[in-house]
């Protein structure tokens, strides 16, 4: 047997695998491409092939009041969720990084739980809390639900940011005469700037798209996903394709920015941090 000369295995040719990978990519992207395509189709959502390009559906979309009301609601809830999740997430990340207290392991798991549990569990349990507290279901309950569920995202990102930070900087700050409070504002937070932005972008996007938890906490005012959901019950029109396309484009833009922010200055280690979504 001839001993093989070791080659740079990362760029070896493997035609079958390449084709397979391309097919998987196609599978992941095709439905969305189709959806976008048909948002310009005059003859509606189905059938093949799509003929007659039109912008009619987008025109209808922009004139559709209730949809934009729900967009506004979603933005308000998302912005609030970002504030809530980042604040509590930052504190939680600091606590996990620096403090030790009984039940810390349980606390860590509890904070991360909403990330891996099906949304229905989080949604229902919060619904029961709302009923227990005698609260009316409304955008406020939705906001509390999103904020709570998304603390996990903030904690994960910020904790990773803290670990990457040079601990000696905080010591240096104390050494130079700054109090712990001053050190936090002048040194710790600026070092976490990238993590905060990345977490904020992600939380905003996730909140805007959230359905499962929102489903059980929604009151009279709809968020965008719930508004679309309601219309689906009534029948599908290409207008829904249009709004879906816009959502897609907007989300992609935000996520690309998020990814860039995250990997800036972090290099290859960034991919490690993306291990658990």
């Amino acid at each position: 047997m001839v001993l093989q000369v070791s080659t740079r295995s990362s760029t070896r040719r493997a035609p079958l695998l390449t084709i397979y990978a391309a097919l998987v990519f196609a599978f992941v992207y095709l439905p969305i491409v189709v959806l976008i395509l048909y948002s310009f189709n005059r003859e509606g959502v189905g059938g093949f092939p799509p003929r007659y390009f039109t912008l009619e559906w987008y025109r209808q979309l922009f004139a559709d009041g209730p949809i934009w009301d729900s967009v506004l609601n979603s933005v308000i809830v998302a912005a609030g969720s970002v504030a809530l999740a980042l604040t509590l997430g930052l504190l939680a990340a600091l606590a996990l990084d620096r403090a030790s207290f009984p039940g810390k392991a349980l606390f860590r798991r509890l904070v991360l739980l909403p990330l891996i549990l099906p949304g229905i569990i989080t949604g229902l349990s919060l619904l029961m809390l709302a009923v227990f507290a005698g609260a009316q279901l409304s955008l406020l309950t939705v906001f509390l639900g999103h904020g709570t569920a998304l603390i996990s995202v903030a904690t994960t990102e910020l904790f990773a940011g803290l670990q990457k930070m040079d601990r000696a900087q905080e010591e240096a700050s104390l050494d130079l005469g700054a109090t712990p409070w001053q050190t936090f504002w002048r040194i710790t937070l600026p070092n976490l700037k990238l993590s905060l932005i990345a977490a904020g972008l992600l939380i905003f996007t996730l909140s805007m798209d959230e359905i499962a938890v929102t489903f059980f906490l929604i009151g009279r005012d709809n968020t965008l996903p719930l508004e679309i959901w309601g219309r689906l019950r009534r029948g599908i029109t290409p207008e829904i394709n249009a709004i879906s396309t816009l959502i897609f484009v907007f989300s992609v833009a935000l996520i690309v920015i998020w990814y860039r922010v995250r990997t800036r200055g972090l290099g290859a280690d960034a991919r490690e941090l993306l291990e658990r979504p």
Binding site: T7, S10, L17, P31, L35, L129
Partner: protein
């Protein structure tokens, strides 16, 4: 280096919040599962009836089984799609690795609803796929089982979760030091052998993480069945959802939800244990 006051200041608010908005709700749900409903009102009558019902009622049990089957299929298919993709990116993509990675990641975070809706429009009897098949004269009538069936649910959820499964597997593969692969080849093992003897075993933690994730989330999904599942594609979470809706039986719904929660946590716990056994640091 951090004073007691500092540590208390950072720990207390999240602890309190988590206690109030996570622990308490779970506790309430847990409590509800032991209660009952009489004449349209929830009564705090502690009993185990709800759990017995879940066990003995053939309809519920059948739905639970179907849910498990669907979740299993989704996990399997996602792995079959996600693993080779991750492998390709890690070992064969070369300079384009970074770009391709972004291309896989980005749709992951794009709206569930958008992606589910896309499938709805594709699979329907008037949908794109049927239109395409008829256009090519491959069929003359719409193929019915494409939409409103377990098949559709599996298809949609596989689409959703393939990128989810890809991520941890890719991370695992990237962690494998390339010299190990080279050593294997140096010792005479070909690509396939190297894969099965070296790469696959070392990627098991990532594989397990991804698989658990996909299974657990599919298990508790109620939106996909509502979008594309129809009557034959109902899953256990839909049962829960209706019990909290029109069928008004919160205690029973809570009981089923608690079961889902227990199954989920057990699987996560088990998966973590096995992952630890298989990770070599």
């Amino acid at each position: 280096m951090y004073s007691r006051a500092y540590k208390a200041f950072v720990s207390l608010p999240p602890l309190l919040w988590v206690g109030l908005f996570l622990l308490l709700p779970y506790a309430l749900m847990f409590a509800h599962s032991f209660w009952a409903v009489r004449e349209g009102v929830v009564v705090h009558d502690w009993n185990l009836e709800n759990f017995k019902t879940l066990y003995s009622n053939p309809v519920y049990f059948a739905v639970l089984l179907r849910t498990m089957r669907i979740a299993g299929s989704v996990t399997l298919c996602s792995l079959l799609l996600g693993y080779p993709l991750a492998y390709y990116l890690s070992f064969h993509a070369g300079a384009r690795k970074e770009l391709l990675y972004q291309l896989v990641i980005v749709p992951l975070w794009v709206s569930y609803l958008v992606r589910g809706y896309a499938w709805k429009t594709i699979l329907g009897s008037e949908g794109v796929l049927n239109g395409f098949l008829q256009y090519l004269h491959l069929t003359h009538e719409p193929v019915a089982f494409l939409l409103y069936s377990p098949f559709a649910v599996v298809l949609m959820l596989t689409h959703i979760y393939t990128p989810f499964v890809f991520l941890p597997i890719y991370a695992s593969l990237e962690h494998i030091p390339r010299p190990l692969v080279e050593a294997s080849q140096d010792l005479g093992a070909g690509s396939a052998q190297t894969f099965f003897r070296v790469i696959l075993p070392l990627s098991i933690p990532g594989l397990l993480a991804g698989a658990t994730f996909a299974f657990v989330l599919s298990l508790g999904d109620f939106l996909a069945p509502l979008l594309v599942g129809g009557a034959s594609g109902t899953m256990i979470a839909n049962v829960v959802q209706s019990l909290f809706g029109a069928a008004f039986d919160w205690p029973l719904g809570a009981a089923i939800a608690v079961c889902i929660l227990i199954i989920t946590i057990s699987l996560l716990f088990l998966s973590e244990r096995v992952e630890k056994r298989w990770s070599f640091k």
